[in-house]
Amino acid sequence: MDFALTDDQTMIRDAAESFLGDVSDSAAVRRAMDSENGFDREVWQRIGSELGWCGVAIAEAHGGLGLGPVELALIQEQAGRRLLCSPFFATVCAAATVIAEIGSEPACAQWLPRIAAGEIAMGMPLYGDVGDWATHAQAIQARADGDRWRLDGVAAQVADGATADVLLVFAETDSGLGLFAVERAATGVELNPLPTWDRTRRFAAVRFAAAGAQRLDSAARIDDGLSRAASLLRLYLAAEQLGCAQQCLDLTVDYTATRKQFGRVVGGFQAVKHRCAQMMVKIEALRSAVHGAAACAAGRVETRQLAMECIMARLLAVDAAFYCAQEAIQLHGGVGFTWEYDPQLYFKRAQAAANWFGNAERLRAELADALLDDAA
C-alpha cells in the first residue's frame, strides 16, 4: 500500500503544470474563447506530438504509453486549472476511454493508435449516467447497410461536434445499443454549433440523415464496459474540476492579499480567511478523493466498486468546483462578476460541467442504490 506518486508521475504532473502555465494562461484562454474553433491548433498539435499526452492512458499494444488513470488524472488536473481549450478532453479522456472499454479489437486497433499519435480529434456527447446514454441513444436509429451502418436522428449536445474529425455516438440498433463513429464531414451530417455560456468547451447539435457510420462496439464488452467507461469519464472530469477549484482558491488568495478595504488587507478579515479555508477543505478532500479513485482505477478493482469510487470523486468535484467558483466571485467583490477577471470563467465551467456524466442528484441516487441494496 503506497499512496505516494512515483517519480515518473511527478514528472508528468510538473511538465503539465509548466507547459499549460505557458500556453494556456488567461490571455490564451480568452483568445481561444473568441476564436471560431474555440482552441489553438498549435497547442493541440504540441500536446499530441511533443508531449505525448494523447497516448498516456492507451495501452502500448495500441500505440500508447501504457500508463493509466493516475497519470491522465494528473494531466487533467492541470488542464482544469488552466481551463485548457482543446480537443484533448473529448478525444483523449472521453472517446479513447469509451473505445478502449467497449470497442471490438479491430476497432481499438484502428482508432486508438491514431488517437495516441495525436492524429485525430473526436467529438462525443457528455451525457449523464449510463442510463442516460441508453435513453439518448434512442434519439438516433442505426441500420445496417452492408459492412457499414447508416444513422438517422439527433445528438443534442456533442462536445467538439463542430470541429472534431470524427464523431462518436451511441445509437439504437435492432439488437440494442451500439457505438458508432461518423466522419464529421460525411454526407448526411448536419452541424449546429451551440452558443453555450461556457465558451471554453464547445458543443454542437448534430443531426444525422442516413449518415454513413462504422460500428465500434463489441457486444460482449458492452455491459461491463459501459460502467467502467462511465467511471473513468467521471474520474477524469473530477480531476479537471479539482484543478478548476484550486485555481479559484489561488486567484482569491492572491487577490485578497493585495486588495484593501477599511484600511486593511481584505485577506486579513477573519470571514474571508475562513471562507478561503473552507475552499481549501473542499479542495483537499476532493484531491484525496480523486487520487483514491484514480488508484482504484489503476488497480484490480471490480466494476461495481470502481463505479462507487468514481461517483464519490465526481460528487465532491461538482460541489467543490461550484463552491470555489462562487466564493471566488464573492470574495473578489465588485470585480468578481466582471468579464475582465477570471472567476466568471471558472463559474461558467462549473455550471456547465455539473451536467456532464450525471448531476449530483443522480449520482447520489446511484450511489444510494449500491449502498442500500448491499448492506445487511
Binding site: W197, F203, R259, Q261, G263, A271, I329, A354, E361
Partner: protein
C-alpha cells in the same frame, strides 16, 4: 395586526391593474417582464417612452408628496401599485434612480430652486439619473472617497476622479456625485454632494462588461468636469449626510414590487420543471417549496418594515438585504438545476432566457450595495451590539 385590505384599497388595486392592462399593450407589450436586473440594457428608448406613458397616467413618483408633483399615495397604496405593476409584467423602471433616490433626497435636502429645476423632469420621465458613489479602490468602504472637487472663482465646482458600478450611465442625463471637497479629510468628513450633467467634455463613460456578457454598469471618469454653483446639495462637507439619506430610501416600498418579480421567476421555474419532468424529482420539489417559503418571508418581512418596526425594533430592515440577495442567488441555482444541460446553451426562449440571466446576474446581488460580509458585520454590530471591526489607522 390585520392583513385584510380595506374596500378602498381593493378598488385601487383594480384601478392599477386595469390601467396596466390597457396601457402595457401595443408597442409596450414587448416590454413585459423585461428590463429588470441583468436585463437593464433592453430597449432603453422604448422604456423611456413607457416612463412618459406612466407619467401621463400619473403613475410616476406615486409616493412623493403632491406639492412636489407626486401622487401622495399612502404606504398601503404604494405597495398595491408596485405589486400590480410587477404582476402585470411592468418593465424595469428606467426612472428608478431619479424617482427612488435623487428625487427624495432633493425633497429632503434640496433648495427650492433645485426642487423646481429637477423634480418636474423626473416626474415627467424627461430626465434620467445615474449615481456616482462607489470608487474602484473603495468597494464596500463607501466612505473611502478619493474623487476630489474644488470650487472655482465663479462658484462652480470642478470634479476630478473616478466612479464605478454606475448603472445605465450611458442612458442617463444627470449624475449625482459624492466627492472630497476638503483636502486631507478622511472617511465621511469633508465630502460634497454634487449634481452634474453627464454630457460634458470632462466626463467619460466606459462600460464594464460583466459575467453575463452585458454591460449595464459603467466606470465614469471625471477630468475637471463641472457642476454649477447652485447644484451643490446640502453644505460643502456634509455630503455624507445627503448620501446616507438616499441609502435609507432605497429600502422602501418598492421591495414589494421586487418580490412580485421574484414570484414571476419562481413561476417560470415551476413551468420549466413541469415541462422537462424535473417536477417529479423529490429534491427539486423540496427546493421549490423552500423557495416559496422565502417569498412569503420576504413579503411578511416587508410588511413588518412598513408597519413601523413595532414587532422587532427594525431588526427586519437590518436583515432584509442579506436575506433577499442570498435567496435570489439560491433561486438562480435552482433555475439552472431545473434546466439541466439545456441551461448551458444561451436561449432565446422567453421562458428560459430570463432564468439564465437571473442565474448569472444574481451573483452580483450578494456583492453590490453592501456585500454579504458587510451586511453581516452591520447586523452583528447594529442589531446585536457586538464589538465593531477594528479599523487600523491607514
Amino acid at each position: 395586526m390585520n392583513l385584510e385590505p380595506t374596500a378602498a384599497d381593493e378598488a385601487f388595486r383594480v384601478e392599477v391593474a386595469q390601467w396596466m392592462r390597457e396601457h402595457l399593450s401595443g408597442d409596450f407589450a414587448a416590454l413585459k417582464f423585461r428590463g429588470g436586473p441583468g436585463d437593464e440594457e433592453h430597449e432603453p428608448a422604448l422604456r423611456k417612452r413607457w416612463e412618459r406613458e406612466l407619467a401621463s397616467g400619473g403613475w410616476t413618483c406615486v409616493g412623493w408628496p403632491r406639492e412636489h408633483g407626486g401622487r401622495g399615495l399612502s404606504i398601503e397604496q404604494q405597495v398595491i401599485f408596485h405589486e400590480e405593476y410587477a404582476r402585470a409584467g411592468g418593465p424595469g423602471r428606467m426612472g428608478h434612480i431619479g424617482e427612488g433616490l435623487i428625487g427624495p433626497a432633493l425633497i429632503q435636502f434640496g433648495t427650492p430652486a433645485q426642487q423646481q429645476r429637477f423634480l418636474p423632469e423626473i416626474v415627467a420621465g424627461r430626465e434620467y439619473w445615474a449615481q456616482g458613489y462607489s470608487e474602484p479602490g473603495a468597494g464596500s468602504d463607501l466612505a473611502n472617497v478619493q474623487t476630489r472637487c474644488w470650487q472655482e472663482a465663479d462658484g462652480s465646482w470642478r470634479v476630478q476622479g473616478q466612479k464605478i458600478w454606475t448603472s445605465l450611465a450611458h442612458e442617463s442625463d444627470w449624475i449625482f456625485v459624492i466627492a472630497r471637497c476638503e483636502p486631507g479629510s478622511k472617511g465621511n468628513k469633508g465630502l460634497a454632494f454634487l449634481l452634474m450633467p453627464l454630457d460634458q467634455p470632462g466626463i467619460e463613460i466606459r462600460p464594464i462588461r460583466q459575467i453575463s456578457g452585458g454591460a449595464e454598469f459603467n466606470e465614469v471618469y471625471f477630468d475637471g468636469a463641472v457642476a454649477q454653483a447652485d447644484h451643490l446639495v446640502g453644505q460643502p462637507g456634509e455630503g455624507w449626510k445627503v448620501a446616507m439619506g438616499l441609502l435609507e430610501v432605497e429600502r422602501g416600498v418598492s421591495t414589494l414590487g421586487q418580490q412580485m418579480h421574484f414570484a414571476h421567476e419562481l413561476e417560470l421555474i415551476i413551468k420549466a420543471a413541469k415541462r422537462n419532468g424535473r417536477a417529479n424529482d423529490a429534491a427539486i420539489r423540496a427546493r421549490i417549496a423552500q423557495a416559496w417559503c422565502g417569498l412569503r418571508v420576504m413579503r411578511y418581512n416587508a410588511l413588518r418594515m412598513l408597519s413601523g418596526g413595532q414587532i422587532g425594533l427594525r431588526r427586519e430592515a437590518l436583515i432584509y438585504k442579506y436575506y433577499w440577495s442570498n435567496w435570489h442567488r439560491d433561486l438562480g441555482e435552482l433555475a439552472m438545476d431545473v434546466l439541466g444541460a439545456e441551461g448551458s446553451v444561451m436561449s432565446d426562449d422567453p421562458d428560459v432566457r430570463p432564468l439564465q440571466q437571473m442565474f448569472f446576474f444574481s451573483r452580483a446581488d450578494t456583492i453590490y450595495a453592501g456585500t454579504n460580509e458587510i451586511q453581516l458585520n452591520l447586523i452583528a454590530e447594529r442589531g446585536l451590539g457586538m464589538p465593531r471591526e477594528p479599523r487600523p489607522a491607514g
